[in-house]
């Protein structure tokens, strides 16, 4: 047993974390068709806002968590209105949004540096202590994340694919004019998509902040990871990135055990590139070609 248990647990844990980080990013990609480079900064804001509530104001963690998610969601909404909306419908929106959100990320990270200072901080874990699993002792916080994540992911999937609201969300950015003509509320839909995505980012940030140090740049590495997950998973659906998150989590866990963490990024990218060579349109997307 021993190592196998560790690899599985680590794969599950990293997969859950990546999935939560990536799903928010994927939500924006599948709806508006852009990458939000401020996603990592929103993670950071969520974590810091919660820290302020918990450590500074002395509120209980659940309340702090709610406030953090809400704060981040609000900022996400604002980001959408001010920086994304003006470019919707343009051909070059993808690149425009890259620069707008990169700038926003820089603004938030340095704003946080100014506001909260550079000293590392930490959030309390969701659950204190450790849990004895058969053959394995794990932290309760990590276990909690593994157990909570499926519910969050399932809820998002349900929302997007089984509700009318999700249908509207998926439709709205594909053709803005047609959306208007069917009577959709563009402002609200874009706003909600962004707020939801930012809220998920905040949640990921709070999960992270519970087991490692927080700093104003804590979101930049996870952002890259999340982007890799989203692209690899295929950009058409939300279930692609979720699957990809767990695949990548397990590849990392296994390869860091068998080949060492040092070679893990290289192995990961080799696997991803090979997969893309075989399936050029991502893991889960339909392989047929069509005229654009």
């Amino acid at each position: 047993m021993g190592a196998t248990g560790d690899i599985i647990f680590s794969g599950l844990f990293q997969g859950s974390l990546y999935a939560i980080m990536a799903v928010g990013l994927a939500l924006i990609w599948t709806t508006i068709g852009v990458f939000n480079f401020a996603h990592g900064a929103l993670m950071m804001i969520g974590a810091y806002a919660t820290w302020s509530a918990v450590d500074y104001l002395g509120l209980p963690l659940p309340l702090g968590l709610f406030l953090g998610v809400a704060a981040s969601g609000l900022i996400g909404w604002g980001l959408q209105v001010s920086l994304i909306r003006p470019f919707i419908g343009r051909d070059d929106i993808v690149l425009m949004v890259v620069i707008m959100t990169l700038s926003a990320a820089s603004f938030f990270e340095n704003g946080a540096l100014e506001l909260w200072g550079p000293r590392p901080k930490q959030l309390p874990p969701l659950v204190e202590g450790t849990v004895n699993l058969p053959g394995l002792i794990v932290s309760a916080h990590q276990l909690a994340i593994i157990l909570i994540s499926p519910f969050i992911l399932a809820a998002i999937w349900y929302l997007l694919h089984k509700t009318r609201f999700g249908l509207q969300l998926r439709a709205v950015a594909q053709n803005e004019e047609a959306s208007q003509l069917v009577g959709l509320n563009l402002k609200a839909l874009y706003g909600i998509a962004f707020a939801l995505s930012a809220g998920l980012a905040a949640l990921a940030g709070i999960f992270l902040g519970g087991f490692k140090f927080m700093s104003p740049v804590m979101g930049s590495d996870p952002l890259l990871k999340a982007m890799v997950v989203v692209i690899f998973g295929g950009v058409a659906t939300i279930s692609g990135p979720i699957l990809a998150a767990f695949i990548i989590g397990f590849i990392e866990a296994a390869s860091s055990y068998y080949f060492g963490l040092y070679w893990t990024p290289a192995i990961l990218f080799l696997v991803l590139i090979t997969t893309l060579m075989i399936r050029p349109e991502g893991l889960l997307s339909t392989p047929t070609r069509r005229l654009s």
Partner: protein, 388 residues
């Protein structure tokens, strides 16, 4: 007159916590000196050269900016660039420069022609002791009967950066020479490590006598310790540098009890070296937080410079100032400061800058080596047990 002093420092990005401390240390030194009337009537002013993220282009820009001010007569830095290339810029500009960057790079640049580098001096001593002394400490403790080394196995984890790499290579040699068995030899990529579990699984598979993690990033180090404590092995744990960062204990709580770390060129905070406590208190009083290595280090660098100005008389005589710095012999917060004429590094050794071993005991950092400065005794970590 007002003499300007240039400070190369990262104000934004991942290292900005150090940056803030460095700026504070420099400000404190200059305020103190100016309040005392300056040196021979000269007062001092700080010019900050923000090296942003520390990328070469940004460092070069900051260097040029600082050098372009003709009133700047001295430049200092905690660490400016990854490679230390700015030392050559300083040499070409005939600018006295003190730094506390990684010693290998500094010595590598200076030692081929030390005399040509009269400008540049490093407060960081040679890191050689980092390579060897952990092994020696463990064997020493065993000899004293404070721990047992039943299998002489060590698990060595390093991070892929210049600092950790050098120490890693040195340690591998030392442990092998002394007949140790290296059961785990892992290098992690430099940057955030999300989960140490699989690496710890390897450690746990064959519990060693000693676990070493050279990843100096406090966030990584702390989560390593927390995850280690989920299911600790009966091993001595040594972590490089990170436990010296003020927040480390606060953030790992009880999990850090028993952890060992060492410092070279760190503040030697012991009753035998009262200056350290004095500066520590002063810093804490002024800024409300403790200083790590860099705040006080920068403070002392500036004082070395002030002494040199005092000795030379003319702050614009750069060569004389540079040489005067090189002749420093003085008790500072880190120990006794003298420079090695071959490498321009601070001399290392028990009578100069000693290698200091600390153990965290009940949330306090206790200096356990060298004996003559020790503030306490080594204690068996709570997660270890002695047989019998």
């Amino acid at each position: 007159d007002t003499v300007k002093v240039g400070l190369l420092v990262q104000l934004t990005g991942a290292s900005s916590a150090d940056g803030q401390e460095i700026v504070r240390g420099a400000e404190m030194a200059i305020e103190d000196m100016n309040a005392a009337g300056g040196v021979n009537g000269d007062t001092f002013e700080l010019v900050i050269g923000d090296t942003k993220d520390g990328a070469a282009g940004d460092v070069a820009l900051a260097v040029e900016r600082v050098l372009s001010d003709s009133d700047v007569h001295f430049v200092l830095a905690g660490y400016a660039s990854l490679t230390g290339f700015e030392i050559d810029d300083m040499r070409e500009a005939d600018m006295p420069y003190m730094l506390a960057g990684p010693s290998g790079q500094t010595a590598g640049i200076i030692s081929p022609d030390p005399d040509a580098y009269w400008c540049c001096w490093s407060l960081t001593p040679s890191f050689d002791a980092y390579n060897t002394d952990v092994t020696l400490l463990a064997e020493d403790l065993a000899a004293e009967g404070k721990i047992e080394l039943p299998n002489k196995k060590v698990a060595l984890i390093s991070s892929d950066n210049a600092y950790s790499n050098t120490i890693h290579d040195g340690m591998v040699k030392q442990f092998t020479d002394n007949g140790w068995d290296i059961t785990v030899d892992e290098v992690v990529p430099f940057g955030e490590v999300n989960d140490w579990r699989t690496i710890l699984a390897k450690v746990r598979q064959d519990p060693p006598d000693l676990v070493i993690n050279l990843d100096y990033l406090p966030a990584n180090s702390a989560s390593f310790m927390n995850q280690f404590m989920e299911d600790p092995t009966d091993s001595l744990v040594f972590l490089q540098y990170a436990p010296s960062v003020p927040e480390f204990v606060e953030l790992t709580g009880e999990n850090s009890n028993g952890v060992l770390y060492d410092l070279l060129g760190g503040v030697l905070n012991t009753p035998k070296n009262p200056r350290a406590a004095e500066l520590n208190d002063k810093f804490k009083e002024k800024y409300g937080v403790e200083s790590g290595t860099y705040g006080i280090g920068i403070y002392e660098m500036l004082n070395v410079y002030f002494d040199a100005v005092d000795k030379v008389g003319d702050p614009t005589d750069h060569e004389a100032i540079g040489k005067a710095i090189g002749e420093t012999s003085k008790q500072v917060a880190e120990g006794r400061l003298e420079f090695d004429p071959e490498t321009h590094l601070a001399k290392q050794g028990d009578e100069y800058f000693p290698i200091q071993f600390y153990q965290i005991q009940n949330g306090e950092r206790v200096l356990i080596r060298p004996e003559q400065y020790a503030t306490g005794e080594f204690q068996l970590p709570p997660f270890m047990k002695m047989d019998e």
